[in-house]
Amino acid sequence: MLSTDRRHVVLPAHAYFARSWFDVEQTQVTETTWHRGSAGAHTASWQGMDFFSQRPSESFEQALGALPSGMGSFRPSLLAEVAAVDLDGRFNWKLFIENHVDVLHLWYLHDSTLAGFDHTQFRHQQFGPHWASYEPAVRADAMAAATPIRHIDDRDRNGLGAHLLFPDTPMATSSGFFATYRARPVAPDHTVVELRVFAEPGAEPEPLVADITAFIREDIHACERIQEVVRSRHFEVGPLAAIHEAPVVTFQQNLLALMSGAIL
């Protein structure tokens, strides 16, 4: 587990991402391996999180693009890391990302855990390969946090944000937390979801982790159930929702763009 004042967002060293900023060590990085194992890596910091790439083809600012503008008023650098939890899932990491940017499933898979949000008001937007979204709470009191984040504005205090730092790091925000949950592939059909929760210093971590893992565990269950079928000779995906599943297609387009020439 990393210290709370050095938050390294570590993305997988996947050969197909060789031109990306997000092409770094597959194992979690500590201060020691940062220097020993990543000699020559390009580094950058943003909002208290460290990023690095072995062979970047563009600056970090170019890679990040306009995503920060879609993430609202949150400034993670002002928060403390209050919890880090690894969740094990028997699925390919891409299923987890595709699930994250799938708006349609909110009504059904999360019909209980996210029922407090008005999915009909869900808004989402691509920022290059990244993705950001927001939906308001049905009732303002549904967002009451024991230790609300002080620096965020009313919009963010009364809604839920879900974002993707392409390719593999979903984020979620609410009145009480800013969370990242990177999908770290450990095998073709095995992924570790690395949840890290940031909140006001002194915030109780247990209820925050319980709230977040409630819907993440539902996502993991869904991904595992698709993984059960994906090797069938009959497996195929049918028609997708015109709007609510469009980000799934965009994610795949961006992934294939990076992997072109490698396997396609």
Partner: protein
């Protein structure tokens, strides 16, 4: 990864000492431990042949459903309003989700928990939530559940997940003539037992159709039978056998199996023990007291799971049918542990009626299910030298 060469028949022993062509072991050792063989059997054997999937009694009422996995294929069995049992690919046609996770019952539709698509028990797509605005051009008739070839025989439900299945009757062939005079519909399942075992599934099957071991491995448990007059028959790709109790003073020796005799059997069947195989992985056995199936499902290159069902006459009240899982290995499976060695080779088999293993080996190699749809060479018959130990 270790490269292993399968010793050829001329490597160290003469043809005479190894036996004739009909008594030589055909499969290489890696067939019993390599991940490659395991994967290919999943795709090319179990996905393309008829498989025992469940029992009629598992779905007694319309609306009952049971998900099962055959090889790599997710299968959903559903009893429809017309009482017919239908098999489908257990996959929502929207995002490929495994539709139903466990056995259950519905009075309405089968609903996918991911995005709410609903299918009737006949497989038809009945409802797509948010159709207006999100799926405006969808034709519901095009996106029903994918049907699979399904057949019911003797209380057993068989599924061929290939999509190009030969008729079930053709696969079954003359096997019913060799089952014995059992009316399975009159029997009641009184026990279902699942046993994980530490060997490749084919070892279990080859043991089942090995007559020679009856004298030795089962000298105590089956010593009351007259193995010298054991009769067995090739029935297409299946196998059937029978033997009778030994006689003492002109009468079959007594035995007590703790169950009452099956009432509808003729007297001539009272002292008969039958052991059959529905190819590739469903051994059965029967006697005057019981009728058993024990399906062997591979769970890995060197692991399997047997599920045995025991049925007997409906007058018995010995126990309620439940599924029990035990970790106790059946006797005799130490043999399995000797296989993953570089030096393993099988010697000659007994002649004549002791060559059933050879028969099973040859069925695997000759099976039409082994003819790959991709046109790849038949590697089950011509295994590669390189192997990967699991």
């Amino acid at each position: 990864m270790t490269a292993t060469n399968f010793p050829s028949s001329s490597s160290s022993q003469s043809q005479d000492s190894r036996g004739t062509d009909d008594t030589q072991y055909l499969l290489p050792p890696e067939a019993y431990y390599s991940g490659e063989w395991y994967e290919r059997e999943q795709r090319e054997l179990f996905a393309t042949t008829w498989n025992l999937a469940a029992y009629e009694s598992d779905l007694p009422e319309p609306g009952d459903y049971v998900p099962v996995t055959i090889g790599l294929e997710p299968v959903l069995l559903v009893r429809g309003d017309d009482q017919q049992i239908n098999g489908f690919v257990n996959m929502c046609r929207h995002r490929g989700m495994a539709l139903m996770g466990e056995a259950g019952h519905t009075d309405g539709n089968l609903r996918c928990f991911y995005h709410g698509w609903e299918f009737g028990t006949s497989g038809v797509l009945r409802r797509v939530p948010q159709r207006v605005g999100q799926f405006s051009s969808i034709d519901l008739d095009e996106w029903g559940l994918i049907p699979l070839s399904t057949a019911v025989w003797d209380g057993m439900i068989f599924v061929n997940p290939s999509g190009t299945a030969p008729p079930f009757e053709e696969w079954l062939g003359d096997y019913p003539d060799y089952r014995g005079p059992f009316d399975v519909a009159q029997l009641e399942e009184v026990m279902r037992l699942r046993v994980p075992i530490g060997c490749n599934w084919k070892l279990y099957i080859e043991n089942h159709i090995d007559v020679l071991h009856l004298w030795y491995l089962h000298s105590e448990t089956l010593g009351m039978y007259d193995h010298a007059n054991f009769m067995h028959h090739k029935v297409g790709m299946h196998w059937a056998s029978d033997e009778r109790l030994r006689k003492e003073d002109g009468e079959p020796i007594a035995r007590d199996r703790g169950l009452p005799p099956i009432t509808h059997l003729p007297d001539a069947e009272r002292d008969v023990l039958r052991a059959n195989l529905l190819f590739p992985n469903v051994p059965t056995s029967s006697s005057e007291n019981l009728f058993m199936t024990y399906q062997v499902v591979p769970t890995g290159p060197t692991t399997s799971s047997t599920t045995s069902t025991t049925s007997t006459t409906t007058t018995t009240t010995t126990t309620t049918s439940t599924t029990t899982t035990t970790t106790l290995p059946p006797a005799g499976y130490d043999y399995c542990n000797t296989l993953p060695t570089t030096y393993y080779t099988a010697g000659g088999f007994g002649p004549g009626n002791w060559s059933a293993q050879h028969y099973s080996n040859r069925n695997l190699n000759d099976s039409p299910t082994n003819a790959t749809e991709t046109g790849l060479p038949n590697v089950l018959a011509e295994p590669k030298d390189s192997t990967s130990a699991s």
